[in-house]
């Protein structure tokens, strides 16, 4: 029903950015998430986040790895903020869809530790030409319902999800043009145009988990509430708004995994309650821990806290179609007037990485030495004076935010920092629907009713295009309005973005990213706040919970050690 995916028309591939909405519960934000994956929009912490990246940056992985060898049995409880809207493969279940389906349905390829692609249901693949992908499928795999897995299942899944207009993911997973069964264990996907990041989407988006051939015709009235795959776990029961219980899939192809008999995902919307539950032992794993609780949790015996790659940042979006932000000097002044370091230390409790270029610190395209504007209130005052604002005629504007504590804290700091140079900021906290309503780009809409907003974006590991896709004219999440009617016009920026989207060579792509960043700062489009760390916490009985196995990773490696 609800289609959360944005279309990617073949002619002009749209960004494959997944931005996590700010407003979502704190948690989401903290989840590492991913945009990268396909165009699937969902808020999802979904995509499996930055895995690779995460792993690289954080270095370590296992949360509490012991030398002991894995033991089978036992159960683990994961707290998360809200359950999926649906488990129907053709619908986007929103926030938690991928967290669950990832445990149940396997993809053809998976993200690897090193940021590359690793085999899953496909053991290997060839690309005879840039638009043809041939997957050699794993043999002897059965679905949890006992049916054998063949190329027909892969074709059925990809066709149903990406080539059928009834699917929320129609044309949303890359420029897929058609699919072919070559033999029982060989499967081909043809693209309409080369896409250097295609396999990465395939590996990151758990929405592409394989379902049995004909499943959508078989599931009948239970399509939304059940799902079947070849993954490590299978669905046992689901009480909406309360919990989902998964049990071990005895047919899983990667024996002896999974080790756990039972895996329970428990809905606990309030992050405070999650922390309390972890401390009391009522939960074993938190996918998202509020920053302010980390100092305390890391000192709590029996609990391990893991920090891994920062995948999300908050942007002070400046609507460059309206006053005062249609004035370059005012936008530049904001770059200098906002003290990012202080926001990182106070509002993120030190769990942050500074912003340089537009890419996250762990990203291969990232340039740690890129010269970003530093905090300089005097320069900001000068710029404002040039723009005609001074103490007699102070600059004032409304900063709209989504009403949650993270944004409130950040906005309060910004408000106070700008007050020091005489700028009056009115902070308006709104519910998410109200916040977003005037910001989306819709052809014909003027989007003039807001001045500035705090928006959180969450980036996946692999897709490099993310960081700048927010400024692509083809993207309707181009909130600041650059190159849109009424907005600032910068054809150079758009041309760089268009080149970067299809550039398969990393060195060349990196050079393009740098040019994009330069252009971004030249136009002073928006203000980036620091990159936020993703932090997770586990009870010590949980073993081999790899950070790589981030929020939405398969939990087949996890086992429990209760001291027996």
């Amino acid at each position: 029903m609800f289609i959360d995916r944005y279309n990617r028309p073949r002619s002009s591939p749209t960004p494959r950015l997944r931005r996590a909405l700010p407003g979502l519960a704190v948690a989401v934000a903290m989840l590492a998430s991913a945009c990268g994956s396909s165009a699937s929009p969902s808020v999802n912490p979904s995509g499996e986040p930055s895995t690779s990246a995460a792993a690289t940056s954080a270095g370590t992985s296992a949360s509490s790895s012991s030398a002991a060898s894995p033991q089978a049995g036992g159960s683990v409880i994961v707290d998360y903020v809200g359950d999926p809207g649906t488990l129907n493969p053709t619908k986007d279940g929103g926030l938690s869809d991928n967290i669950i389906t990832l445990q149940i349905r396997d993809r053809l390829v998976c993200p690897g530790q090193d940021g590359g692609i690793t085999p899953c249901l496909a053991t290997s693949w060839d690309t005879p030409d840039p638009t043809t992908y041939i997957f050699h499928l794993r043999q002897g795999v059965t679905f949890s319902n006992g049916a054998p897995f063949t190329a027909a299942d892969a074709k059925y899944t990809v066709d149903t999800l990406t080539l059928s207009k009834d699917s929320d993911f129609y044309q949303a997973e890359g420029p897929i043009e058609g699919t072919k069964i070559i033999d029982d264990h060989t499967f081909e996907i043809d693209l309409s145009s080369p896409d250097p990041y295609f396999l990465e989407y395939m590996s990151l988006d758990s929405d592409l988990g394989i379902m049995p051939n004909g499943w959508m015709d078989q599931c009948g009235t239970t399509c939304d509430t059940t799902t079947v795959g070849t993954g490590p776990f299978m669905l046992k029961d689901w009480v909406k708004g309360d919990h989902i219980t998964l049990v071990r899939n005895p047919h899983y192809w990667d024996q002896p995994r999974p080790y756990l008999d039972t895996l329970t995902f428990k809905v606990t919307p309030d992050p405070e309650a999650q922390v309390l539950q972890l401390k009391s032992g009522a939960a074993d794993i938190l996918y998202a821990v509020p920053f302010k609780d980390l100092a305390d949790l890391s000192k709590t015996p029996g609990i391990t806290v893991d920090k891994h790659g920062s995948g999300s940042l908050t942007e002070v979006v400046l609507n460059n179609r309206v006053a005062p932000f249609n004035n370059l000097q005012v936008r530049e002044a904001m770059q200098y007037a906002i003290n990012r370091q202080q926001i990182g230390e106070v509002a993120m409790y030190g769990y942050f990485d500074p912003v340089t270029d537009l890419l996250p610190p762990w990203h291969w395209g990232h340039d740690a030495d890129f010269p970003a504007p530093a905090y300089d209130p005097q320069k900001a005052t000068q710029l404002l004076a040039q723009a005609g604002y001074d103490s007699g005629h102070p600059l004032s504007f409304e900063l709209r935010i989504i009403n949650n504590q993270d944004f409130i804290d950040q906005a309060t700091l910004i408000q106070q920092q700008l007050a020091q140079i005489g700028v009056q900021v009115k902070v308006t906290p709104l519910d998410k629907a109200t916040f977003l309503a005037p910001m989306f780009y819709t052809p014909g809409a003027k989007n003039l009713s807001w001045q500035a907003g705090l928006e959180r974006f969450t980036f996946g590991a692999i897709t490099p295009s993310l960081a700048y896709q927010t400024y692509d004219t083809g993207s309707y999440i181009n909130f600041c309005g650059v190159n849109l009617p009424g907005g600032l016009q910068d054809p150079t920026l758009q041309s760089l973005i268009d080149q970067a989207k299809v550039e398969g060579d990393q060195t060349k792509a990196k050079a393009l990213f740098q040019q994009i960043s330069q252009q971004f700062y030249k136009d002073a489009l928006t203000v980036y706040l620091p990159w936020q760390d993703n932090v997770m916490a586990t009870r010590d009985r949980v073993q081999d919970f790899h950070v790589l196995a981030g929020p939405v990773y398969p939990l087949q490696y996890v086992w429990v050690n209760d001291g027996k």
């Binding site: 289609i3 999802n44 619908k91 309360d242 998410k432 977003l436």
Partner: protein, 300 residues
């Protein structure tokens, strides 16, 4: 029958409120940034591009056939979602009512029979404090004291996770304000009843003070108490929204606030309507029950 116009009014009011509020279910979906084309397609498929009166009449037509529609976000029938959440809220309100009555009635009786005594004064002050404490604040205090400092109760979570113990703190929280009401009401009506002839007669006949107080006086004081309890249902349900939020208890209250946040139109309409029906029916039942319990009242 006044029920129908009131419910129609409620449904029209909610319908207008949610449709006129900024944002719609399409844009408020968690984290998605749908393209304009997708939004248009979705709005069309959800019937959101029809004029409001048409949408309302279509919705009403379905409701009259017993179909509250499907939740836009949860992809499940609204009726199922309500029925799934209702037991928790019912258990919460019933448990807090029982808590209030069990504490409140004896305290009220003792206050009345020992008028101006120490118990009376303490009871009065406690009940005053009880009605003055914000429900959610009391919830946090209880969590701090009994779930964090001394870990006796779960800090919040569902019945299916913890069993009935999950209801203890929420029920005490929600019931606390009600205790004050019950104490004061019981005391007042007891004082009135104790002054009446038949109680004096009972005393004169030599019945024990206990029997006079509890059988005769309390028995009669219970009738008006029924009304008070009934009239509290609306307030209790409001309190339940807050209590469920504080304790992460998945009941109707959380369902409704989540629905508003997601602009899940059918779910908002369905759940508010269900609660309104409940409130109206309970009030009606209270009136009827009052007639049964007190033979002086008759409805023609």
């Amino acid at each position: 029958m006044l029920l129908v116009p009131v419910l129609l009014g409620v449904s029209i009011a909610v319908f207008l409120l949610v449709h006129l509020a900024p944002g719609d279910p399409v844009t408020s979906q968690l984290g998605l940034y749908p393209s304009p084309q997708t939004v248009a397609r979705l709005r069309h498929s959800l019937g959101l591009d029809d004029p409001l009166p048409v949408q309302y009449i279509i919705w009403l037509g379905r409701v009259l056939h017993g179909d509250l529609g499907n939740s836009l976000y949860a992809h499940a029938p609204v009726t199922d979602l309500i029925l799934q959440r209702f037991p928790t809220t019912l258990a919460l309100t019933v448990a807090s009512t029982i808590f209030a009555l069990v504490i409140g009635i004896p305290l009220g009786v003792v206050s009345a029979t020992h008028r101006d005594g120490i118990v009376d004064h303490i009871g009065l002050i406690l009940s005053m404090i009880g009605v003055s404490i914000p429900v959610f604040w009391l919830g946090f205090l209880l969590i701090l004291a009994l779930a964090v400092s001394i870990q006796i109760f779960p800090p919040g979570g569902s019945i299916s996770t913890y069993g009935p113990i999950a209801l203890v703190l929420p029920s005490v929280t929600l019931g606390a304000s009600f205790v004050g009401v019950v104490v004061r009401f019981t005391r007042a009506t007891m004082l009135e009843v104790l002054g009446q002839d038949y109680v004096r007669t009972a005393r004169a006949k030599g019945l024990s003070e206990m029997r006079v107080n509890y059988e005769h006086a309390l028995g009669n004081a219970l009738i008006p108490l029924t009304t008070v309890v009934g009239l509290q249902v609306g307030l209790l349900l409001s309190g339940a929204v807050l209590t469920e939020t504080v304790f992460s208890l998945p009941g109707l209250g959380l369902l409704m606030t989540d629905a508003v946040a997601a602009r899940d139109y059918p779910l908002i309409l369905g759940s508010v309507l269900a609660v309104a029906v409940l409130v109206v029916l309970v009030n009606l039942a209270v009136d009827l029950l009052y007639g049964v319990l007190d033979p002086r009242i008759r409805y023609d």
